[in-house]
């Protein structure tokens, strides 16, 4: 049901029946390692290309999420997913293997919540009984497509971010025990004129702030409603900017705990990740691995995940274009929301 201008309330309470979060070796050295279902020791996953490794990551996560939901692959009506590769090949090729009717989406790193919001909407409206939503990224494929060869020795500036190797998948259904996907706010594209692809946190922060403010305006609630608000991958630089923007807009973010997935993934002391983590897999694995574990243990009961995406391409930034950005917010709660 539409609420306000750009938000949906899922009044039929779509349930997250199963999730899976699988990551690569570097993420396995970070502080959230124990919250992931599988930590791969080999960045290539035994495949002969990085691209195949990324798609294998997604296929494994999909199969595991199905298993954890206690259903069979055949009962899933739709798979909604995307990734960072040109023509979202990781998702489409995994969908070829999985043979689930497939809806491909692209929202750069915001794909994790874009796919979850759309999946919840399908389940909520009765358009599907089971829907799988997915997002994945791989450090080496992202570096290869957007930056330089992985082994190329270039010095990254302190604003740069490290693309997460990981796949996060969730299976949504109509009935069952929580956590429930209760609402979503779809963001608009915001471009504040940042051109530096090594400073995506600064480019994405205004989009995150815009969507978060729209969410609370549409739903007519206060930030204090949530136990935690997380942004996807703003990392150190974008997180600081977002905080300043909240302050400037007199938005009471202090009512709740505000964190960023890109800052939770790695250990800044031990791992060289510059500003922090990024990529579709960042918010997807942190949400489906770490945050949902904490929700199941009732440490958290109401969270708002705001996945942020930089909608640039290697061609657009070489042509000197600015970086358009987007953010999509999805709320997950242990209890059914009372309206």
């Amino acid at each position: 049901m539409l609420k306000g201008h750009q938000s949906w309330i899922f009044e039929n309470n779509p349930v997250i029946a199963g999730t899976a979060a699988i990551v690569g070796p570097f993420e396995g050295q970070g502080p959230l390692a124990h919250d992931f279902d599988i930590v791969h020791g080999d960045l290539r996953l035994g495949q002969d290309s990085w691209e195949k490794a990324e798609r294998t990551l997604l296929e494994e996560a999909a199969n595991l999420a199905i298993e954890k939901a206690g259903i069979t692959k055949e009962s899933i009506n739709f798979l909604i997913g995307g990734d960072l590769m040109n023509q979202i090949i990781s998702s489409t090729f995994a969908a070829r293997t999985l043979q689930i009717p497939y809806i491909g989406v692209f929202g750069a790193c915001s794909t994790s919540m874009e796919s979850l919001a759309l999946a919840a909407n399908l389940v909520n409206s009765g358009s599907a009984k089971y829907v799988m939503s997915s997002a994945c990224s791989h450090n080496a494929t992202a570096e290869k497509q957007f930056r330089y060869p992985t082994e190329y020795g270039s010095q990254k500036p302190p604003t740069a971010q490290y693309s997460v190797t990981g796949a996060g998948v969730s299976v949504l259904t109509q009935h069952g025990e929580g956590p429930y996907v209760t609402s979503a706010t779809m963001g608009r594209v915001v471009d504040m004129g940042i051109t530096d692809p090594f400073n995506m946190g600064a480019a994405m922060a205004p989009a995150a702030v815009d969507t978060i403010q729209a969410h609370f305006r549409d739903l007519q609630i206060e930030p204090g409603y949530y136990d935690l608000i997380v942004t996807g991958d703003l990392s150190k630089v974008g997180y600081a900017i977002a905080n300043e923007l909240f302050d400037k807009h007199k938005f009471p973010i202090h009512q709740t705990v505000y964190k960023d997935c890109g800052m939770m993934m790695y250990d800044y002391e031990k791992q060289t990740v510059q500003a922090g983590g990024s990529g579709c897999g960042c918010s997807a694995t942190v949400t489906y691995g770490h945050l949902l574990r904490r929700m199941r243990e009732k440490e958290l009961n109401r969270i708002l995940v705001v996945a942020t995406g930089a909608l640039l391409s290697p061609i657009s930034y070489q042509q000197g274009e600015t970086i358009p950005c987007i953010a999509h917010a999805v709320s997950i709660e242990n209890e059914v929301r009372k309206l």
């Binding site: 060869p149 082994e151 190329y152 020795g153 010095q155 004129g193 205004p206 900017i241």
Partner: protein, 161 residues
């Protein structure tokens, strides 16, 4: 930036000023020092290799430079293949990029990266992805310098001796 300012709205400009404030600065002085140390170290290693060729392999100093460069390139390719060179580079910056080892790294890293796209279009086509511009503009610069040299020393025209 001033020429770019025109195309941005006041709101965008205001935001960019705000964002700039949060941008951690590159530690330029420390980076220079690291580059100086690592770049110097690579050159010392090169010198040592050259001395070895002169003293133990019977090359004269001029002829020893070719095998020396080959050894440095070989070492760089090995370190790139082992996944170490990019880690050194994050610390050393220009120190590992400027010497011939950096050039070898650009070519070998691109070749390794694109191997999965085949030998011809992958390795062959994309090997010069990063090194290509260096060669193109290096050659153009050398050409311009050559012309300037010739204008300043017209008597050298006709082959020199």
């Amino acid at each position: 930036m001033s020429s770019n300012d025109k195309k941005f709205t006041p709101v965008q400009q205001e935001y960019q000023t705000l964002a700039k404030k949060h941008e951690p600065k590159r530690p330029v002085l420390i980076n220079c020092l690291k580059a100086f140390l690592v770049g110097g170290l690579i050159c010392i290693i090169g010198q040592a290799i050259q001395e070895m060729f002169v003293h133990w392999a019977g090359f004269d100093e001029k002829k020893a430079s070719n095998p020396t460069v080959a050894v440095l390139i070989f070492l760089s390719v090995v370190l790139t293949s082992l996944g170490v060179y990019d880690k050194i580079a994050q610390w050393a910056g220009a120190g590992s990029a400027v010497p011939v080892t950096g050039f070898a790294n650009t070519m070998s890293s691109a070749a390794i990266e694109h191997r999965s796209e085949g030998l011809v279009l992958g390795v062959g086509g994309k090997m010069f992805k990063i090194a290509g511009p260096v060669i193109v503009f290096g050659v153009v610069a050398a050409f311009v310098v050559g012309i300037v040299h010739l204008i300043l020393n017209p008597h050298e025209l006709g082959g020199g001796s």
